[in-house]
């Protein structure tokens, strides 16, 4: 199911997006795979390639590396990139960040709400939930379909403020990347967005 879609994304990616983001690597979701200084992250992290070098230097001529480690050793990134290691269940999410609450503002609403982005697995789930929360509005969904609300005929564009302080359209980047970088959400009245000329729909579908 999701692996097939991941494959399709790789093949059709044309927007210069970092499709390595969908590769299985050992980094936490949303973390950059390769850092600007060419691989060595902050601090003195001994990646697998260094461990491997140590091994080869010892009197252990018979040590053979498993394929996955051979691949990891070739990688320029010092951080390990071994699939399925360590053997912990992937979605158990026992990690440090267990929730991510962000404020949600809707143009015209008297108060803000908060949502936990970790509660969702995809854009579709988030937008559906926002629609539930602000039930008298409709949100122009990520597929750019028009859903006009019966009551007051207003529709909204979902936008968010990212780590750099810029206001972005929801849906362009992979879901996990979005969760990492989103600081707050704003549902902007579509009428304000007129003139921005959105020709292409955001890249990521609900399977992300």
């Amino acid at each position: 199911m999701s692996s097939e879609n991941g494959k399709r994304l790789l093949e059709t990616d044309a927007g210069g997006l970092n499709f390595e983001a969908t590769e299985l690597t050992l980094g936490l979701p949303g973390e950059p795979r390769v850092t600007s200084d060419g691989g060595a992250k902050l601090g003195s992290k001994r990646g697998i390639s260094e461990t491997v070098d140590l091994k080869l230097g010892d009197n252990n001529p018979e040590v053979k590396l498993g394929h996955s480690l051979q691949e990891a050793a070739k990688s320029p990134v010092s951080k390990t990139q071994v699939v399925g290691w360590p053997p912990v269940r992937g979605f158990a999410k026992r990690g440090k960040k267990s929730c991510k609450y962000v404020k949600v503002a809707v143009d015209g609403a008297p108060y803000l709400r908060k949502v936990d982005l970790e509660m969702y697995n995809s854009y579709q789930q988030l937008l559906t939930s926002l629609e539930d929360m602000f039930s008298c509005f409709t949100i122009r969904n990520y597929l750019n379909e028009k859903k006009i609300d019966q009551v007051n005929g207003i529709e909204y564009m979902p936008t968010y403020e990212d780590k750099d302080g810029d206001w972005m359209l929801v849906g362009d980047v992979p879901w996990q990347m979005f969760v990492e970088s989103c600081k707050r959400l704003r549902l902007m009245k579509s009428s304000e967005a007129v003139g921005l000329g959105l020709k292409t729909a955001p890249k990521y579908s609900s399977t992300n």
Binding site: E4, G27, R46, K64, G66, G84, R89
Partner: protein, 572 residues
């Protein structure tokens, strides 16, 4: 041979409950086989592809409880593609068509669709218990069907499943007439639940003994639930975040104190560490404590909590407890039998906060320790030898040093001697997982000493085929062998293919076995399914026998090749 009438034998067999024993009984003679099969109510199938539902139904017409396992264990670590298999629908469909009065279904690592759940809920009038562990493929709509249609439901236990949460009102689907619940566990669901419906459900379930909530259940609801169910034995707390000076917190303290029967506590999916004192009154009775989902709990708050838990038998914790914290466990929890220490930061080996020291402390302080799962930064031979001496009763010993192939940091030696000491000392060892730098030598020890070993997991170890051969030749009771990234090739694989018929399954990935070697096994052993899993589409274009196989999974079966394999699985 038969001095007694069938009814007497049947009565005697009623006392034989373990699957192994009942299987043995059925092999004695034809009449025992017949009596046993008609009286059998509980069946365990460790590999859903080893037998077909039709044959199961034909042999055990009195079946009431079925346990099925699907995907291989390494599927937990993303080594098996999602749609590899393990679909439960054909089983439910066949059972529904038959006259089997199914009451209990327990599934592990299977693909469960909403359709299956709906069919299940409508087909068995007396259905009582559904346990799903590490399954996927269903949504809360499927749960709604179970809630709505299973009139005598006693148990709905969802453990670590991937559920698409539609935030529907599945909890509201339990009818008012449903008062039979004993166990309800929905901790793995990520979405909101109807809190009012939950409260009403708990209120009308006087037999409720086990309740595990998800993150969406806030503290004030927890307090109300506890007031209505002071008889709980097992509690999983969802959200535990609140202001310690609030009315809600005071109410909670009172509610918890009324729950004198709680023996098992888990969850804390969201936790405010400064509020743990409300839990202290029940800590003295706890036999099981699971804090492995609570990274917010560490340091002194965690220590204080543990110090109240003197009767603990099983502890699941994150490594932020540290070696010092494990020292506190060693001093406090003298009844401890099972310890699991999970990594809070799995992909940064340097941040793993426990080392060999913590393990040694626990082994010294907790002589009853028999089951271990330990993710750590490093391990030494000396520590393992000490642990082996302190705790000769290990049944399960699973050690994961986060940095693969890491040697003993003090001596720079492989960990052969340390693990060797474990297998030599722990004569009852049934399950073993290895890690760190290991040569063929450790496998020599395993083959020599691990006589009761049933399951072995190996990664990034050994120098040659000899390693695998030592294990296959020595471990007579071996049932499951899973290997990744080891230099084992065709010579090891083909040495004794008959052995695989005595085992449930063998997994080998990123090893040295070739397509030709796998084909050879398949040819010689028609009673095995030999599956090659290759998503890279290499196999389609390059059928060279000398090519190395990325993932091979073989298992014994009575029903030949399965028909539901996806295109990247080749069954030889």
């Amino acid at each position: 041979m038969n001095y007694f009438p069938d009814e007497v034998l049947e009565h005697v067999f009623d006392f034989i409950t373990s699957h192994k024993d009942r299987n043995s009984v059925s092999l004695v003679c034809k009449s025992w086989y017949k009596i046993e099969r008609y009286s059998r109510q509980r069946v365990f199938i460790g590999n859903c592809y080893s037998i077909s539902p039709e044959r199961l139904i034909a042999r055990f017409p009195g079946l009431k409880s079925l346990t099925l396992k699907g995907k291989p264990h390494f599927a937990d670590f993303n080594l098996v593609p999602h749609d590899w298999g393990g679909f439960v629908y054909p089983w439910i469909k066949a059972l529904a068509k038959s006259r089997i009065g199914l009451e209990e279904l327990r599934l592990k690592r299977m693909v469960v669709s909403d359709e299956s759940l709906e069919l299940l809920s409508k087909s068995f009038v007396n259905f009582k218990s559904l346990v799903l562990v590490s399954c996927e493929g269903f949504t809360t709509d499927g749960l709604a069907a179970i809630a709505a249609n299973c009139r005598f439901l006693r148990e709905l236990d969802l453990q670590e499943n991937e559920v698409d949460d539609h935030r529907g009102h599945w909890l509201s689907c339990f009818p008012e007439s449903c008062t039979s619940l004993i166990s309800l566990n929905f901790a793995c669901l990520r979405g909101e639940v109807n809190l009012g419906a939950l409260e009403r459900l708990v209120s009308r379930s006087p037999n409720l003994k086990s309740l595990r909530l998800n993150r969406a259940v806030p503290l004030d609801t927890l307090q109300k639930l506890l007031m209505r169910a002071p008889q709980l034995v097992d509690l999983g707390i969802g959200s535990y975040v609140h202001d310690p000076f609030s009315e809600a917190y005071n109410k909670l303290k009172i509610a918890i104190q009324r729950c004198k029967s709680i023996r098992s506590l888990s969850g804390f999916l969201e936790v405010a560490p400064h509020c743990m004192s409300a839990i202290y009154p029940i800590c003295g009775n706890l036999t099981f404590l699971n804090l492995s989902y609570a990274p917010g709990l560490h340091g002194n708050k965690l220590m204080k909590l543990i110090q109240h838990c003197r009767k603990l038998q099983r502890l699941w914790i994150l490594d932020c407890i540290g070696d010092k914290g494990l020292g506190v466990v060693a001093l406090t929890c003298k009844e401890l039998q099972e310890l699991r220490v999970f990594p809070s930061d799995p992909f940064e080996a340097e941040n793993a906060a426990v080392t060999e020291e913590g393990l040694v402390l626990v082994s010294a302080g907790c002589p009853k320790l028999n089951s271990l799962l330990y993710f750590c930064q490093q391990m030494t031979n000396a520590a393992l030898i000490t642990v082996a001496k302190n705790c000769p009763n290990f049944i399960r010993f699973r050690l994961c040093i986060l940095d693969p192939m890491k040697p003993d940091p003090v001596t720079n030696q492989p960990l052969d001697e340390g693990f060797g000491a474990i297998v030599q000392s722990c004569k009852g060892l049934k399950r073993l997982s290895l890690s760190g730098h290991l040569t063929d030598q450790v496998f020599l020890y395993i083959g020599m000493y691990a006589e009761q070993l049933e399951m072995l997991s190996i990664a990034f170890a050994a120098n040659s085929d000899k390693g695998m051969l030592y294990v296959l030749n020595g471990c007579k009771k071996l049932r499951k062998l899973e290997i990744r990234d080891c230099p084992f090739g065709d010579a090891a694989l083909l040495e004794d293919v008959g052995k695989y018929e005595t085992m449930r399954s063998l997994w080998m990935s990123s090893c040295e076995v070739t397509l030709g070697g796998c084909k050879s096994v398949a040819e010689k052993m028609p009673s095995l399914n030999v599956e090659i899993i290759d998503e890279s589409e290499q196999m389609e274009f390059n059928l060279d026998d000398k090519q190395k196989v990325d993932k091979m999974y073989l298992y014994r079966t009575l029903v030949g090749h399965r028909k539901d394999a996806p295109e990247y699985v080749w069954i030889l």
